[in-house]
């Protein structure tokens, strides 16, 4: 523990004088670069409602948790040669954790794909990659760099949702073959993406789906960062008890001067009526020098789930601070309010605090 803290402090302090740099190698025809980031997070989560342990039925509560994690370490290798690009994103999670899950820290491939960039209107990507389903889908691994550390509920439900039989993921995870591009004149353009995926696999590695996953996204953009109005659809057919899943999402991402407004709504249904999720959020932020305060409101409902059948609201506020261009500091507060007669009265208001430091190189 002490060695970990000392190492973390040294690493983060090393970023302060702006000495951390990416590695870039330039050859005649190709460019190779390696970038990455490392974070350190403290989380306090109050008493949550939870399913009772059988043979008891109904809901009980789980004790508050307080954890200190080295949550993510990502290394990103890119090779860029004319119209071809290879991107490999290697990730390690929870290399160190105090009070939370058992540390594992093994590296895994978060993304590994090749891309042919014919033009701005036509890119073809193959491999394994996070699909552009919502605003945060493609950058979930690095969200803590560019947004509040705690993701909206529709990207990352609270742990009591999965524990009470909720869906394993609300937004699609990955794709394997994609065609995408941006068309139209000037700054107002249409971004499109259509992708196929092998879908989910069982723990034994065998294919879990009766057919493959299909999805797509359209965004009317006002600049290259894909801000604007978007709509997405994704479907896959689980051969097990869920039947066919349908994910539908709409999004709004607007930036004007120092102000930014994000809002998304998502519907998830299955033909076997295992889940029936509706969730949305709104976040408003403003850049003030190196600081970015934000306000947020989330809603999450699953009419098939005992904890979330009555809906859960979350109010959020926090501050990001860019200490240097290599070091980001974050502080956030989130208050969750559960509705429903089955919710234990000592867990209907759940407070959460998260502090994070992220070093980029």
């Amino acid at each position: 523990m002490k060695r970990f803290l000392a190492a973390a402090v040294v690493l983060l302090a090393a970023a302060a004088p702006r000495v951390a740099r990416a590695v870039t190698l330039d050859a005649q025809d190709a460019r190779v670069s390696i970038n990455g980031f490392l974070d350190l997070q403290y989380t306090y989560m109050g008493r949550l409602p939870a399913p009772a342990t059988p043979p008891a039925v109904g809901l009980t509560t789980q004790d508050p948790i307080s954890t200190l994690d080295q949550d993510r370490l990502n290394l990103i290798l890119k090779v860029d040669r004319d119209r071809f690009r290879v991107n490999v994103n290697v990730s390690s999670r929870k290399a160190y954790s105090v009070g939370g899950v058992e540390p594992h820290g093994q590296f895994s491939f978060q993304e590994a794909y090749g891309e042919y960039r014919r033009s701005e209107a036509l890119n073809v990507r193959g491999g394994s990659f996070l699909v552009p389903f919502g605003i945060y889908n493609e950058i979930r691994y690095a969200t803590s760099l560019f947004a509040p550390v705690v993701l909206p509920q529709l990207y990352e439900p609270l742990p009591n949702y999965a524990a009470s039989g909720g869906a394993d993921h609300i937004v699609p995870e990955e794709g394997n073959l994609m065609v995408s591009g941006a068309v139209g004149p000037g700054r107002a353009r249409l971004f499109y993406a259509a992708y196929l995926g092998t879908g989910d696999r069982t723990q034994a590695g065998t294919d879990q789906n009766e057919d493959k996953a299909v999805g797509g996204r359209l965004t009317l953009m006002t600049d290259q960062e894909r801000q604007g109005v978007g709509v997405s659809y994704y479907t896959t057919n689980d051969g097990g008890g869920e039947g066919r899943r349908h994910h539908v999402m709409t999004s709004l991402d607007l930036r004007r001067g120092p102000w930014g407004l994000e809002a998304e709504a998502l519907w998830l249904t299955t033909t076997a009526h295992v889940y029936d999720v509706f969730s949305y959020y709104v976040r408003l932020r403003r850049h003030v020098g190196a600081a970015t305060p934000f306000l947020g409101y989330d809603y999450f409902e699953d009419t098939k789930n005992a904890i979330y059948a009555g809906g859960m609201k979350r109010l959020s506020t926090g501050l990001s601070y860019e200490a240097t261009s290599n070091l980001y500091l974050k502080a956030e507060y989130h208050c969750h309010v559960f509705d429903g007669s089955a919710i234990p009265s000592d867990a209907d208001h759940v407070h959460m605090v998260r502090l994070a430091a992220i070093m980029v190189f």
Partner: protein, 154 residues
């Protein structure tokens, strides 16, 4: 004794004034340097607007008439880089660095190649069909074979 002190003070004053004048003249001369954006002729551009140049160096525009552009910059500490960022992109070094950190992680983009000298910049731009870079006006004698497409005045 009093006279010699006065002479000494006068000499010091003149020396100080000359130093200030020299520094001011040097600053004015340097500030008067234009930045010239140059391209490999195979890019096919005769002229570019400041907005187009900005989009290319910030990674927002990757193609010009179907050719993949290859932007070239200088180290962050160099004067020509700072002037280009100020005149061409309207950014400070820190803003430029932060911009590219976001692009690297959000879009998996690769930032422009950075070279050490004007001679090296010219060589890299010449060797890439989509090469585009910038030089101070005083270094344009080195830019044989490249096409100037935009002048950024102080």
């Amino acid at each position: 004794m009093r006279t010699s002190i006065r002479i000494l003070l006068e000499n010091l004053l003149w020396t100080f004034a000359l130093c200030v004048a020299a520094i001011a003249a040097g600053t004015i001369a340097r500030a008067a340097d234009e930045i010239v954006v140059v391209v490999n002729p195979k890019v096919g551009a005769e002229t570019m607007t400041a907005d187009q140049v900005r989009a290319i160096f910030l990674g927002e525009k990757e193609y010009w008439n179907g050719t993949r552009v290859y932007p070239v910059t200088f180290p962050e500490g160099s004067r020509v880089m700072q002037e280009f960022l100020r005149l061409g992109l309207g950014m400070t070094i820190n803003e430029y660095r932060s911009w590219w950190i976001k692009r690297i992680f959000r879009r998996a983009d690769v930032p422009p190649q950075s070279v050490s000298t004007p001679e090296e910049a010219v060589e890299v731009i010449r060797s890439h069909p989509g090469g585009i870079g910038f030089l101070s006006a005083g270094d344009m004698a080195e830019a044989d074979g490249l096409r100037p497409v935009l002048r950024l005045g102080p």
